[in-house]
């Protein structure tokens, strides 16, 4: 086989590989959506799950997922922001302790999420006696989310040219002031993209939650918004099975007759939400960027 034929064959193979990868994705999406969409209804999205009979929904799980996501983001964003600001704005490039911290963030980002969940279980559920609760789950998700978010914010900050920092410094503005009022606003579009993408990951995470937020979804009283009542949707101390955990749970040990319907519908909802996060992440970033630079 001469070089030219080899080139043609290789090109063909590469096209086939890329095509098959794309095909796998589309097939999976189509499979989930085609199977799940027929089961979606207002009733399915809003009613409580049933353990023994058919006709249950995913209302509470859906609410739990969003509530946990918001809490986890509220806790992790300020910490990640602070850490990213230090790493990108204050840290000296070749200081030993900064490289140690960087390494530990890297290690943290590669921790299996089940280990994060077990750690959360050990410390918050057992030691601090929080039990299976929203709070334990939110903290576990925070640990899961922190390294990714920190890195993404740090990258966003580093994309703002040094000219801006020099400008601030030359005007007698403190470095911190420059970061907060100049650098951060300028990097908002890419930070938002990063936050929304990580929100998608957090929303779909289950392994870190099984033993922290728990695997049960007690009935909620949606008229009671006092966070100190156990039945209140806002209560941080109640167990809260999320959508992703629910999917895992019914597939591993569910006993209701319509498992496959509920599983299909819930998977479709999960995928749709995650896809929405993914699509809106870039759109939102671009939109903000345009708004920021518009004439």
């Amino acid at each position: 086989m001469n070089a030219k034929t080899a080139d043609k064959v290789a090109t063909g193979v590469i096209y086939a590989i890329a095509g098959s990868v794309a095909l796998v994705l589309f097939a999976m999406l189509a499979f989930i959506l085609v199977r799940g969409l027929p089961h979606l209804s207002w009733h399915f999205l809003t009613s409580a799950a049933r353990s023994f009979e058919a006709g249950g929904g995913i209302g509470i799980q859906l609410f739990n997922s969003f509530y946990l996501l918001i809490l986890a983001m509220l806790i992790s964003f300020p910490i990640a922001l602070g850490a990213a600001i230090y790493l990108n704005e204050y840290a000296k490039k070749n200081s030993l302790w900064v490289s140690i911290v960087r390494t530990s963030i890297e290690v943290m980002s590669s921790l299996p999420s089940v280990v994060v969940g077990l750690f959360g279980f050990l410390i918050f559920v057992v030691k601090f006696k929080l039990g299976f609760s929203i709070l334990s789950g939110a903290i576990a998700l925070t640990i899961f989310n922190l390294p990714i978010l920190t890195r993404s914010i740090e990258t966003s900050l580093s994309q703002i040219p040094n000219l801006q920092r020099e400008a601030g410094a030359a005007l007698g503005l403190s470095r911190f002031e420059t970061v907060i009022h100049i650098i951060l606003p300028a990097s908002v579009p890419s930070i938002v993209t990063g936050v929304v993408i990580s929100a998608g990951r957090v929303f779909g995470e289950a392994a870190a939650l099984i033993y922290t937020a728990g695997q049960s979804a007690p009935t909620l009283d949606f008229t009671d918004w006092n966070p100190f009542n156990m039945a209140s949707p806002l209560s941080p101390f109640r167990p809260a099975e999320t959508l992703a955990v629910h999917i895992w749970k019914i597939n591993s040990e569910g006993i209701m007759p319509d498992i496959s319907e509920v599983s299909a519908g819930a998977s479709a909802v999960l995928i749709i939400v995650v896809l929405l996060f993914n699509f809106s992440a870039r759109r939102l970033g671009q939109l903000l960027y345009k708004k920021l630079t518009k004439a």
Binding site: F31, S174, I247
Partner: protein, 307 residues
């Protein structure tokens, strides 16, 4: 002294702000570092309890083939704490998944960076991003409803097992390896390509003999990253592996991995009991393995720099 000289000598608002900013941002960083230290400290302390308070021999744990912690083995008189089936299960799915995913990942990355840049950016980039974004339980559902029946129809049996786990993991780590390989390929200097083409190499010769060679350390790093993800993945694997902690007889017989046993077991055991302690030992192995993958990545990185 005039006003300006006086002002210059005083600590200004800016300086105070800066001290404050530095302090709170360093606090955030220390918080993260503290969490990492705590995770390691707690999991390792608990993991060691098996060997200290339950007096289990480390070698029996690592190489024993009987995993059944709640039942006492008649031959040895000890509970079945041999984790070898789980370790082998984890390693098998990890290596097999990486083995299958790598050619696809490299092919896709080459497609995106060398063969069809425009279509690569337009179609494949979002495809890869979406693949990364799909939650692992959804992979598990697809594995359970598509892969397992498919394997069953070909090989018989239950369809659950290492093969199904491998297939699911393979798709899951494919985007990780691909996107990191894309980054490495993009970092290969353009003059490498130009000089190869200038001496009459075909595109494939250029890719194969120049680009991929130059990018080898980066590609290896990408593969290790993928393997780290596969090794630590819990739910998707647990859903299709069969959860039978036997020494795997074949690729299509029900087996177990470290993560699957952990996921299933930790809720059903009592804190402080032997059955619970050995589970923490499994978690410790997971943790240490993720450290090993990290060290491996750094080692490849430093080797790559030397060239």
């Amino acid at each position: 002294m005039d006003l300006i000289t006086e002002k210059i000598k005083k600590t200004s608002l800016s300086t105070k702000q800066d001290r404050f900013g530095k302090a709170i941002s360093i606090l955030a960083l220390l918080f993260i570092a503290a969490i990492v230290v705590m995770i390691f400290a707690f999991v390792i302390t608990r993991g060691f309890a098996t060997f200290t308070s339950n007096k289990i021999n480390v070698f029996d744990f690592l190489f024993g083939t009987n995993w059944n912690p709640s039942v006492v083995d008649k031959k040895t008189g000890l509970p079945g704490v041999g984790a070898a089936p789980l370790i082998i299960g984890s390693l098998a799915v990890t290596f097999l998944a990486a083995l299958i995913a790598t050619p696809f990942a490299i092919g896709t990355a080459v497609f995106m960076t060398e063969v069809a840049k425009k279509r690569g950016a337009k179609i494949m980039q979002p495809v890869i991003e979406l693949l990364v974004g799909i939650p692992s339980v959804v992979y598990g559902v697809i594995g359970l409803t598509v892969v397992v029946p498919f394997v069953r129809s070909i090989f018989g049996g239950t369809g659950l097992g290492i093969l199904s786990g491998t297939i699911v993991l393979c798709v899951m780590i494919l985007p990780t390896i691909t996107s990191m390989t894309v980054d490495t390929l993009k970092a290969v200097p353009r003059h490498y390509r130009e000089s190869a083409l200038a001496i009459g190499a075909t595109r494939w010769q250029m890719i194969y003999k120049v680009i991929l060679r130059a990018a080898t350390p980066g590609i290896l790093t990408a593969i290790v990253f993928g393997m780290a993800r596969a090794f630590g993945e819990a739910l998707a694997v647990q859903m299709v592996i069969g959860n039978a902690a036997n020494m795997p007889e074949s690729l299509v017989s029900p087996s177990a991995t470290l993560t699957s046993v952990l996921t299933m077991g930790i809720g059903n055991t009592v804190m402080g009991s032997l059955q619970n302690n050995v589970l923490w030992s499994l978690a410790m192995i997971l943790l240490l393995m993720s450290l090993v993958f990290n060290i491996l990545i750094r080692w490849i990185g430093s080797k790559g720099e030397l060239k």
